[in-house]
């Protein structure tokens, strides 16, 4: 299965669908060998290696998934082209960070749509590390509930998987976990600093 057998519309629909549909769409993108080879080839030509290329390929799919779910993908270009643009953006950012460039990034041939929207979907590394640190205090149960919630599991499905008595209990547990996370954030100045105020 690869994205050649899926239309762009099916990919978008899958990514915004239920967990099973999401899995199929993600797998279709992940197993698109031609797309993967293109991205790895691009990275290798621009001072990266094969492993860098594979990392960029995976990060690009994750970012594409996020953009589609957030309504950021407008469908003006193909999914493959959009993914290639995201991958180039990711690589140019990484490469320029390594070279300690302080001037503006030079992004070549990247779709305007990618340039304008993609920054808003990227979670800054510092913030990501802070989140991972807080998640260690959240507990496995909360992490599982919130992952399923974000993966578009229904409250009934979450209740069934977590052995709750009903969907209302699942909903309350999800809310409680989020509030627990929020308390950690406000309790520390270094975390509060990361809020987008």
């Amino acid at each position: 299965m690869n994205s050649k057998t899926y239309t762009d519309e099916q990919i978008v629909k899958g990514l915004t669908g239920n967990p099973r549909e999401r899995d199929l769409a993600l797998k279709a993108l992940f197993q698109n060998q031609k797309l993967k080879a293109y991205i790895i080839g691009f990275v290798r030509k621009n001072r990266g290696n094969t492993q860098d290329g594979e990392d960029v390929f995976q990060d690009a799919i994750i970012l594409l998934d996020r953009r589609v779910r957030q309504g950021g993908y407008k469908g003006t270009g193909s999914i493959d082209g959009y993914l290639q643009g995201i991958a180039k953006f990711i690589w140019y950012r990484k490469r320029d960070k390594w070279q300690n460039k302080t001037e503006a990034l030079t992004i070549e041939h990247i779709q305007e749509e990618v340039e304008q929207g993609i920054e808003t979907s990227i979670i800054a590394e510092e913030k990501k590390q802070a989140i991972k640190s807080i998640l260690q205090h959240l507990g496995d149960k909360c992490k599982k509930i919130l992952t399923m919630y974000q993966n578009k599991f229904s409250m009934e499905e979450i209740a069934e998987k977590m052995d709750f008595s009903g969907k209302d209990v699942a909903k309350n547990e999800a809310y409680r976990c989020r509030q627990k996370f929020r308390k950690f954030v406000v309790s520390r100045a270094d975390y509060k600093r990361l809020l987008d105020l």
Binding site: K27, Y38, D65, I123, I134, L135, R178, V186
Partner: protein, 325 residues
Amino acid sequence: MPFLLVVIVWNIKPEPMESKDLFEKIEAYLLNKLSPTERQAFEEQISNDPKLAENVALQRFELDMMEVLLEEETKTKFDQWTKESATAPPNKPQFNRWIILLTIVLIAMVSFWIYNQNKSDQPSSNTIAPSEPPTQQITPEETPIENKTPESNDTPKPANQPQSQESTKSEQPIAEQEKTTTADNQLLATAIALYETPDLLQGTVRSDQANSSAIQAAFQAKAYQKVIDLLENAQIPIAEQQQLAGHAHFGLGQYPQASQAFESIISGDDPALSEEVEWFYLLALLAQQQQDQAAFQSTLRNILDDPEHKDYEKTSKELAPYLNQ
């Protein structure tokens, strides 16, 4: 004083939970589910209310947290799918490729049989002895062109072959010489089937104009031994000599010499020319039934790892099945 303490403690406490309605309104705003009008109104509200702004920022942080959780789960799936594909059984297309190769071998064998039936005046001893293995080691008489001493103007020949037979053999195009294939020589048949003489000489041989037209004529006439002889005295860059020699040796069925000539280009400092010959290097190694597996696998992997390589597509199509995983 105690009243003041209470006020200070009150302000240190975490923000009180917002109402469920406000929570869901903020959620809709952050997930782009508000209409443009509602969005604009809400943004105005946020800009006028610092506490609301802080709640929005906190809730945005929560959504980022859930994105990080989802990202970790997705990467776990990627690892799982990678492992699944690594342990998956071989693809059927590889089986089809073997069928195609066997068909090529059979066609080559039938063609050779027909040629032998039609041949009238050539003694059988002039053809390459079937018992002679195609994987010839380099003998001192068949050193590649760059190792020839200036005094040696004679054509290098194996000691056990008469000169007349060698010159007769050497002037025959590869297609006529190498039709001898058996099931054991299917790799050789594949290499020959995949080989196409490149149009090398346009703009290649520049510096020695007197010889270049003779070399060109000999190459086009598939008089490969003559090409090698002419290259001896040609004043052209070594890398171009090696390229021409490599193809001439291949044409003569001298695959060790061909691969050595191509390999000297690949290990040189001209990446463009290196890319020109890597495909032919692989064919020369393949024709030797992959005597140098390490070199074959390394070069094959280099091309397959580089989708921008000029011969990436045909290498993927024809030689990828030979890649050891």
